[in-house]
């Protein structure tokens, strides 16, 4: 068992799924998927739409337990823990979805959400008082990382889609997660907003965060990822270093997907 107080950069700070299977009603969505991410690496999960990438990420985010298989964080089986223990592990994970899913509030309140809910109730009530100024350094810092500095006071309804998604990214980073899960975070964005997010993802890797992102855009996978996992019909058919998977895949279907022939 690893020392729980060890810094998050220790080699055991890994988020992994082993033999994870899951379905909805009769529909088998994930079939014995084994995959993990280490600190300081970007793993791309690629595959056509409807192959189970989102389902896998939600299971990695401990949204619900898989039907079978285990999810481990730092070598601990998260579904064998108490709810309270799992909460403290969940609180080390950040996630961004295809939609920004921002709260109907100011940019500052959105980005400050993660740090705020980690505080004691006493402190949270105190911050609700109108006189307390809770300008947080992390909020400002995270906003600058996505090129949204100075927007703290804006209401999210005044943001463009790309700006909203950059705020969503800052919001997931504001509580300094050790793991970052991104579910097609740039699917709806133009190239400029996509570039801002991609730079922020690389910065997160350089800060030793373990990152897994789902995408159906293999060019993005090639640009960003250190390793690529290829999923088809709920099965992980191939995992390996980006360059190797793109130039010399083991599985014929991977080549087809990369060539754009495998369209569902």
């Amino acid at each position: 068992m690893t020392d729980q107080l060890a810094p998050s950069t220790s080699a055991h700070q890994r988020l992994e799924c082993e033999g994870v299977s899951h379905g909805f009603d009769e529909n088998r969505v994930l079939d014995a998927v084994t995959v993990g991410v280490d600190p300081g690496e970007i793993l791309a999960i690629i595959g056509p739409s409807g192959t189970g990438k989102s389902t896998l990420l939600r299971i990695m985010a401990m949204y619900h337990a898989p039907e079978s298989g285990t999810v481990r964080v730092a070598d601990r089986d998260v579904w064998s823990l108490t709810e309270q223990e799992r909460l403290s592990i969940r609180r080390r994970v950040g996630m961004v979805f295809q939609e920004a899913n921002l709260f109907d509030a100011s940019v500052r309140q959105n980005v400050n959400y993660g740090p705020r809910i980690r505080k004691q109730w006493r402190e949270r009530f105190r911050e609700m008082l109108p006189l307390t100024t809770n300008g947080s350094a992390t909020v400002t810092e995270q906003l600058e990382l996505v090129d949204m500095g100075g927007t703290e006071q804006r209401h999210v309804s005044s943001l463009s889609g790309g700006e909203a998604q950059r705020i969503a990214f800052a919001r997931a980073m504001a509580y300094e997660p050790d793991f970052l899960l991104l579910d097609e975070p740039t699917s709806d964005l133009d190239p400029r907003n996509t570039a801002v997010i991609e730079d922020a993802v690389k910065a997160a890797r350089d800060a030793d965060i373990a990152i897994a992102f789902a995408t159906h855009d293999m060019h993005q996978a090639e640009r960003l990822a250190d390793r690529v996992a290829v999923m088809i019909d709920g099965k992980l058919i191939e995992v390996g270093p980006t360059e190797r998977v793109f130039t010399n895949p083991d599985d014929g279907r991977t080549q087809k997907f990369i060539d754009g022939e495998l369209v569902y």
Binding site: Y63, R90, F97, F103, Y113, I117, P130, A172
Partner: protein, 241 residues
């Protein structure tokens, strides 16, 4: 018992109504406004807490008989207030389950009946508001490390305008309602000040007695009050809640 109660509280005593002159009437009107606000605001405040708990449970928890609860809420929204008054009056009467508390013709009984009237309205409108909060917003709150309570608070906050509307609708029903407060409150005035007389029950009494000026004045106050409450609540809703 009720008869002696009526006598001691001067229930509908027309002679005294002719004796009051202007300064008294001012106090009389003020006390009526106060009773109206007191009863309606307390009933609505209590009902809001109760209704939000029900709306969140029905909206997000899975349990048997959920469809029945929703049907009950919808039926309750249009429930005749006189019947509610009758049931509450029976409940607090000597034969009723709450008979020992001596609540017949009291503000507490009026609060109870207005609670019953306001709850389906506040619950129904709040339920629509909380279930229309985007599922992605709940997902986001959860994955950022939110507990069930954190997620519920995010939902309530995102639904705040709908909830404001729900509270307003409940308050509107409570403050402008005649039937049940008349039955359970008894429209009592003592020494020229209202005990259980509200704007609505006063208006119907004054109008029946042919005192149209007073009735009109009370009617105008009721309308202004409803407008002011709307204004305050909408203003609150625009800021940080």
């Amino acid at each position: 018992m009720i008869a002696s109660f009526l006598a001691t509280h001067g229930f509908v005593d027309p002679t005294y109504l002719f004796l009051i002159d202007f300064p008294f009437e001012r106090e009389y009107v003020q006390s009526i406004v106060w009773v109206s606000l007191y009863v309606s605001l307390i009933a609505v405040a209590l009902s809001t807490l109760f209704s939000l708990a029900i709306a969140m449970t029905v909206g997000f928890a899975e349990f048997r008989g959920k469809g029945f609860v929703v049907a009950l809420i919808n039926t309750g929204m249009g429930f005749p207030s006189v019947v509610v008054g009758l049931v509450v009056l029976f409940a607090v009467s000597n034969q009723g389950p709450l008979g020992t508390f001596n609540l017949v013709f009291t503000r507490e009984a009026m609060i109870m009946s207005q609670f019953v009237l306001a709850t389906p309205v506040i619950t129904g409108v709040s339920l629509a508001a909380v279930t229309s909060v985007d599922e992605g917003v709940r997902d986001a709150a959860y994955v950022m490390g939110g507990t069930r309570i954190d997620v519920a608070l995010v939902v309530l906050k995102d639904a705040r305008y709908g909830i404001m509307t729900a509270i307003l609708a409940g308050l509107g029903r409570a403050i402008s309602e005649v039937g049940s407060v008349l039955i359970v409150g008894g429209n009592i005035v003592s020494d020229g000040t209202s005990v259980t007389r509200t704007l609505t029950t006063a208006i119907q009494l004054e109008a029946r007695q042919g005192r149209f000026e007073t009735a009109m004045l009370l009617g105008a106050i009721l309308v202004v009050l409803v407008l002011v409450i709307n204004g305050i609540v909408l203003r609150l809703g625009g800021g940080r809640v």
